[in-house]
């Protein structure tokens, strides 16, 4: 798809997920354009992660449409895609960065194998080539090349998170779903990770959906914001607009809850 097309990369309509009588997300809808970063903010339990899980297919939604414009130009409804194609899409054009790196990394194999896994899954069969790609991506996420043969367990939390990002970006995805990518990291490490992510979004033309409860992260990374509460989107708009002039009472509460040092 070229940027000239006036079709969003991802178009979500009336997404619903219930757990029994409990509503996890209700009628969530948004458009995401190529090169855009959408932030989803809200308190714990507001359904942010459920939205992300429904998009990636980790959780089956109960209703709604998720239309994605693929690299070759056709539009697919991700929810109705057959499983081989959906899994393939997740491995090639999409990436998922989990809040806990242990969910997204293979902890028992070296950093190089972690980065190379998606390449091998797509048929790369040249050891040297896979290793070169791994080295190149480790450098790009600011992990020293001599750590390529170390296990992720020996990495700090921030390094593990960056390794997770490298592992996803190695196949050049067009859309990355991130769930609290900076959760559990101290502020200076957070800042470095945010810098890195901003660089990738700018340089690679990535589109991303970032779920976070941290409004500072949202302000730094996201072009647009969705504010969620009790499973519903209560406000959406440009990030600055939502954060500086919140309209909905809940958004106002959320913004005013943040301490400014």
């Amino acid at each position: 798809m070229s940027l000239g097309d006036d079709r969003p990369l991802l178009s979500v309509r009336r997404l619903v997920k219930r757990y029994g009588p409990q509503v996890a997300c209700l009628d969530v809808g948004f458009d995401l354009w190529l090169g855009e970063v959408l932030g989803v903010v809200g308190e714990s339990g507001s359904g942010k992660t459920t939205v992300l899980d429904c998009l990636s297919g980790r959780v089956a939604a109960d209703g709604g449409r998720v239309e994605y414009a693929t690299a070759v130009g056709d539009v697919v409804d991700v929810r109705r895609l057959d499983e081989p194609r959906r899994r393939r899409l997740l491995r090639t054009e999409w990436g998922v960065v989990h809040q806990n790196p242990r969910d997204g990394l293979r902890m028992g194999v070296t950093a190089g194998a972690n980065v190379g896994e998606r390449l091998m899954a797509l048929g790369a069969r040249h050891y040297g080539g896979i290793r070169d790609a791994a080295l190149s991506w480790l450098t790009q996420v600011e992990i020293a090349a001599d750590r390529v043969d170390d296990l992720p367990e020996t990495f700090s939390g921030g390094m593990q998170q960056r390794l997770q990002i490298a592992r996803n970006l190695v196949t050049r995805p067009r859309l990355v779903l991130m769930d609290e990518p900076t959760g559990g990291l101290d502020v200076s490490v957070q800042a470095r990770l945010l810098d890195l992510l901003r660089g990738f979004v700018a340089d690679l033309g990535l589109s991303a959906i970032i779920v976070t409860h941290d409004l500072a992260v949202a302000r730094l990374l996201a072009h647009r914001l969705l504010v969620m509460r009790a499973g519903e989107v209560v406000e959406s708009g440009l990030t600055d607009q939502v954060l500086d002039d919140p309209q909905h009472p809940y958004s106002q509460l959320l913004v005013s809850s943040v301490l400014h040092p």
């Binding site: 499983e83 081989p84 899994r87 293979r106 194999v109 070296t110 190089g112 194998a113 190379g116 896994e117 998606r118 091998m120 899954a121 797509l122 048929g123 069969r125 040249h126 050891y127 040297g128 896979i130 290793r131 043969d149």
Partner: protein
């Protein structure tokens, strides 16, 4: 003897197992579930292999049983006795004369020929088992041919050891489709799986799976372009028969560190010696 049906299993069970075998032959490398029975043998001693053998053996067969290449070890002797008692078919140690061979951990050195059936005992049939713990997920991976993770494992081996350190149960791709664990045969035997003129059947009793490599089926050992698959080789011949290019066992001969390397395939070694071949330690 009359208390038992021919080959121990009742005819309904044999039919069920034969159906599984037919399906396994039709889909090379695919693990077919079957209703594995209790056998008068512990799990891990070849209950799967015994059930497959019992289902395909007929009065006209000549049976050979191998355990780790040898005809005279406990497992081989007891399974051979079991079928002698329950079928009355003649048994042999000679690979070339047998029509049906049940084996644990080896494929004979003597090339198999068309019409023979080799039954291998399998402890763990699932090649993805230690990479993916969920059975539902491994089945999905087979269905969708998502085998990249096996190469992750080979990548790890090369990274840590400079080569693929897996020496037995070396994963293979059957008929360019299904990833298969070729039972715990040494990787030395993997090339014998490829385009074998004999029918190869694999039975896992505890895990209740049967799979097959039909005759003349392509079986490729996984590797990397720049780290091609290699088999083990020894820098010395068999101490007893002088054979080269065969799989050798290391045998400790005294308590002073003495050791010798001899053919793992006892039938092959004995026949070579009978023909006059002699190795450095040969009598």
């Amino acid at each position: 003897m009359s208390a038992y049906n021919f080959a121990y299993l009742d005819e309904h069970t044999k039919r069920m197992i034969r159906r599984a075998i037919l399906k396994a032959v039709a889909v090379p490398g695919y693990q077919v579930p079957f209703g594995s029975r209790e056998m008068p043998l512990s799990y891990g001693w070849g209950t799967g292999g015994v059930q497959v053998t019992a289902s395909v053996i007929g009065p006209g067969d000549v049976l050979k049983v191998i355990d780790q290449g040898a005809d005279d070890t406990t497992n081989a002797v007891s399974i051979r006795k079991f079928f002698e008692r329950t079928t009355g078919v003649p048994t042999t140690t000679r690979t070339d004369l047998a029509t049906l061979i049940q084996s644990r951990h080896r494929i004979p050195e003597t090339p198999l020929h068309a019409g023979q059936i080799l039954v291998l005992q399998v402890p763990i049939p699932e090649p993805l088992r230690w990479l993916e713990p969920r059975e539902a997920e491994t089945r999905k991976m087979h269905a969708l041919e998502e085998y990249g993770v096996m190469h992750v494992r080979l990548y790890e081996d090369i990274t840590r050891h400079g080569r693929v350190a897996q020496t037995y149960e070396y994963p293979v791709l059957v008929n360019d489709r299904y990833l298969m664990r070729p039972s715990p045969i040494p990787k030395f035997d993997n090339p014998k799986l490829d385009m074998s003129p004999a029918l190869l059947l694999f039975g896992a009793g505890r895990e209740k799976r049967i799979y097959a490599v039909p005759p003349h089926t392509r079986v490729r050992s996984l590797d990397f372009e720049d780290h091609p698959f290699e088999v083990e080789h020894w820098d010395r011949p068999c101490a007893l028969c002088g054979a080269r290019g065969v799989f050798l066992d290391e045998i400790i001969v005294d308590d002073k560190g003495g050791r010798m390397f001899a053919c793992s395939d006892t039938d092959y070694c004995a026949r070579r010696q009978a023909e006059g071949a002699i190795g450095p330690n040969g009598a």
